[in-house]
Homo-oligomer: 144 residues x 2
């Protein structure tokens, strides 16, 4: 995870550049929003926060972040898709997403537990593993 909380424009620019994305106001704002947030974000979170941008633009911003490896999509059972920041080690080629996700049934927030790694798992003979996702549902520390 990128360490700083209050980013300066240069830092945002660097992140976008290093992922081969053009620097635009929308992308910088959305990226900053992700960096300031602890929890995962959904498209509608962005729409509420950034009324100045068209929802399609925000949709495509999320897609460009996904494709370039800035964020990752978090599986869920219902509602809109949620997105979390990738580790700094992630790239479009090689992702490093072996952390557990937690969804609080009280406040609804979805969190990346970056230092809680998904345990190893074995598959039946003949199965090939490409990715493993673990989603824990419950009540978070704040809501408990």
């Amino acid at each position: 995870m990128y360490i700083c909380r209050m980013e300066n424009t240069d830092h945002l620019k660097e992140i976008l550049e290093s992922h081969k994305l053009r620097i635009t106001a929308c992308r910088k704002n959305v990226l900053q929003f992700f960096l300031n947030r602890k929890a995962a974000l959904s498209q509608s979170d962005l729409e509420n926060q950034f009324t100045q941008y068209d929802r399609v633009t925000l949709y495509r911003t999320l897609n460009s972040f996904l494709d370039s490896g800035i964020i990752h999509k978090i599986p869920n059972s219902q509602g809109a898709a949620a997105y979390g920041l990738c580790h700094e080690t992630c790239s479009p080629d090689h992702h490093d997403h072996n952390h557990i996700h937690f969804k609080c049934n009280q406040c609804g927030q979805i969190q990346c537990l970056d230092d809680k790694l998904v345990p190893e798992v074995t598959m039946p003979k003949g199965y090939m593993i490409e990715a493993v996702n673990m989603i824990v549902d419950g009540v978070c520390a704040k809501c408990a």
Copy 2:
């Protein structure tokens, strides 16, 4: 998992009755379809299979099965929701869903690996666990 593959009407009736659901043709047909299938099913799978029923009826059939503990919802990152048969031990009160789900990126099928249990996991202090889901993506034995 219910053992039989080709159910007789009585067996279907028993299952529905034991979950306190009224016996209807639609429910029996949908339940049979679940029992015959190995993979998880989506609403659109049902719509394709049962053109004689309104899609809202199929939607509510899935909901009644969900609420009564006949099926469970499987988290995914994209596309329509998938549903898998519950174990016989499941009830509305107590669910027993600690098995791994596998999604094949080739054929798209989602499978309940009923005998592959989700490994134990610990949360940070203060978190309460209510449910744990594990979804493995990859290539299934048939597609490999």
